[in-house]
């Protein structure tokens, strides 16, 4: 049971990083990214190829240290985001969302079909796990939980600092009124691209944290449902534009997702086999209830970072 809880927490931390990444794009900059899973996937495969063992079936076997794999994953996701930004950031709102949806599908197909690179649908096995030899494999999840929490904390702190700075204020200004921000002397394209690239790097890092946890990666993990729409749900439930909120959202939604396993013991066997659909059903209910009763999410966005300065001044 404790093991189960820990593995839930590891995955929740990874999803929380994805939710933070999406929150910077959607919550702060107003970029409707429906393809965040693509960058998660790119990060996961990059780290798998860089750190994995040599194999005749696919590229890889560089056997680099895991930290370098993680850095490489973030850089690769950032590089691809930079290139994607050139055409995609000319679009706004819905068309941008559709472009990113298409980009996710493209990357999904590339990874599924280019076997020389990724071993196709069979996936990459034997990805090294950090500190694996230190403890009994049964307790390995606890070690990894620490790694996941550290990664999430670092992400959270760097995000918070970024969005509460004048840089983040320009992002919010772009979300609120791009025309006025442009006239106010801010290079909006540049700011949107910085936000897009940085948050995609975080998504890539989340991918790397994922593969070194499971030791195995295949395209199934990165279906649009699992890698994009679940993340969107986390952001919406937790509170768009509030970093703590989206972390809470990630833990809650992922809790419902894996928690639905327990229902299998309570319902008749004929229903238990349909558990996948019950999950979707539950997630649909959460989404509906959120939109109807608390559209702003559980935690609302913080209004200002300047109030602090002012209070200090009066003190």
């Amino acid at each position: 049971m404790v093991n189960y809880l820990s593995s839930y927490l590891v995955m929740a931390c990874i999803y929380a990083m994805l939710a933070l990444s999406l929150n910077m794009q959607w919550g702060y900059t107003g970029l409707m990214n429906f393809g965040i899973g693509a960058f998660y996937m790119v990060g996961a495969y990059t780290s798998a190829i860089l750190c994995g063992l040599p194999s005749p079936e696919h590229l890889g076997g560089f056997h680099l240290p895991i930290l370098m794999g993680m850095a490489g994953a973030a850089c690769m996701a950032g590089l691809i985001a930079y290139l994607v930004a050139i055409p995609a950031l000319k679009l706004r709102g819905g068309p941008f969302a559709i472009a990113l949806l298409a980009i996710q599908e493209t990357f999904f197909l590339i990874i599924k079909n280019e076997s020389w690179l990724t071993n196709g649908v069979w996936g990459i096995r034997d990805i090294p796990q950090p500190f694996f030899s230190l403890v009994n494999p049964r307790f390995y999840v606890f070690i990894y939980l620490i790694i996941a929490i550290v990664a999430l904390t670092l992400t959270y702190l760097s995000m918070e600092r970024a969005v509460n700075s004048p840089w983040g204020r320009v992002l919010r200004a772009i979300r609120e009124d791009e025309t006025l921000t442009d006239m106010s002397g801010k290079d909006c394209f540049n700011f949107r691209r910085q936000s897009f690239v940085f948050s995609s790097m975080v998504a890539g890092l989340a991918g790397a944290v994922y593969v070194h946890y499971t030791g195995f990666v295949s395209p199934q993990t990165f279906s649009p449902l699992m890698s994009t729409f679940l993340v969107w749900l986390m952001v919406m439930v937790g509170g768009t534009g509030n970093n703590r909120g989206v972390i809470l959202g990630a833990f809650l939604v992922w809790g419902v997702w894996v928690g639905s396993d327990f229902i299998t013991n309570l319902v008749p066997a004929s229903v238990a086999t349909q558990i996948g659909f019950i999950r979707m059903f539950l997630v649909g209910i959460i989404l509906t209830v959120t939109v109807l009763t608390r559209p702003q999410g559980l935690l609302t966005q913080k209004l200002s970072n300047i109030q602090l300065i002012e209070e200090e001044k009066h003190a």
């Binding site: 600092r161 209004l303 200002s304």
Partner: protein, 262 residues
């Protein structure tokens, strides 16, 4: 007579087959308050959009302080110290009034990610200065009590005041104002107009104002340009324009002129 700060030469912009601005040439003198009037659809707002880089002209050039700014984007135009307001006041509804003002400040250290992460002390110091300046300006225009409210709670008139406050936050040479008096109750209108005159008098800004309210235009402008069908139709002092029968005809059509003689 001082020299021209803004020169528009042969500017043309077509939307489909219609020329919204058609071979328009005009000059705005440095330090003046110049009014731009004309019937609806004369191309006044399009002209503003062309000058500030929101639209690319089909032909013609715009010079600001002798420099060609025709192909610049709005944020580059701003860097040459030219700013504009919009017909419907623009603001950041989900940000506080204070933040609304602070966004416009130039040379903000914290707008680079590196500084935001690793040099937060310096960034904070600079932000304190900006915040102090913003609070002083809000006191001046009597919006200080609302500084921590989201801008969406401001009334239409207060939003217009906020726009003027924004112009006071930075050193500008010229501002294009698109209907500063529209949709504002008369009492507040006087206040806004006195602030606008103050921009010109105290800060030496050149103002170029589109306005439909003739009282305002006649009172505060020293030159008036009349635009009709995308062209600079005529220009002169308020007195000259007011007494020009061709202007009245352009505004009201021939029938209007006859009615006046009745």
């Amino acid at each position: 007579m001082s020299e021209a700060i803004l020169q528009v030469k042969g500017l043309t912009k077509k939307f489909g087959g219609v020329a919204a601005v058609n071979d328009c040439s005009l000059e705005v003198r440095k330090g003046s308050i110049t009014g731009l009037i004309g019937p609806n659809g004369a191309g006044k707002t399009t002209l503003f959009n062309l000058i500030t880089g929101f639209l690319v002209p089909d032909a013609g050039k715009v010079f600001f302080k002798g420099k060609d700014i025709t192909s610049l984007t709005p944020h580059q135009v701003f860097k040459s110290r030219l700013f504009r307001s919009f017909q419907i006041a623009r603001d950041y509804p989900e940000m506080t009034v204070l933040e609304n003002l602070m966004v416009i400040c130039e040379e903000q250290l914290g707008e680079g990610l590196f500084n935001a992460w690793f040099r937060s002390g310096q960034v904070q110091n600079q932000q304190k200065q900006f915040a102090r300046k913003a609070v002083d300006i809000l006191k001046f225009i009597e919006l200080e009590q609302k500084k921590d409210l989201p801008a969406k709670y401001l009334s239409g008139g207060e939003k217009k005041l906020l726009e003027i406050a924004r112009m006071m936050m930075v050193d500008l040479d010229m501002v294009l104002l698109d209907e500063p008096g529209a949709g504002v109750p008369p009492a507040l209108q006087d206040k806004i107009m006195s602030h606008i005159q103050n921009l010109s008098r105290e800060r030496g800004l050149t103002l170029f104002i589109v306005e439909h309210d003739m009282d305002i235009i006649m009172n505060i402008c020293d030159t008036i340009i009349v635009m009709v069908e995308g062209r600079n139709f005529t220009q002169g002092t308020p007195q000259q324009v007011r007494s020009n029968p061709a202007v009245i005809e352009a505004y009201l059509g021939r029938g209007g002129e006859e009615k006046k003689h009745e």
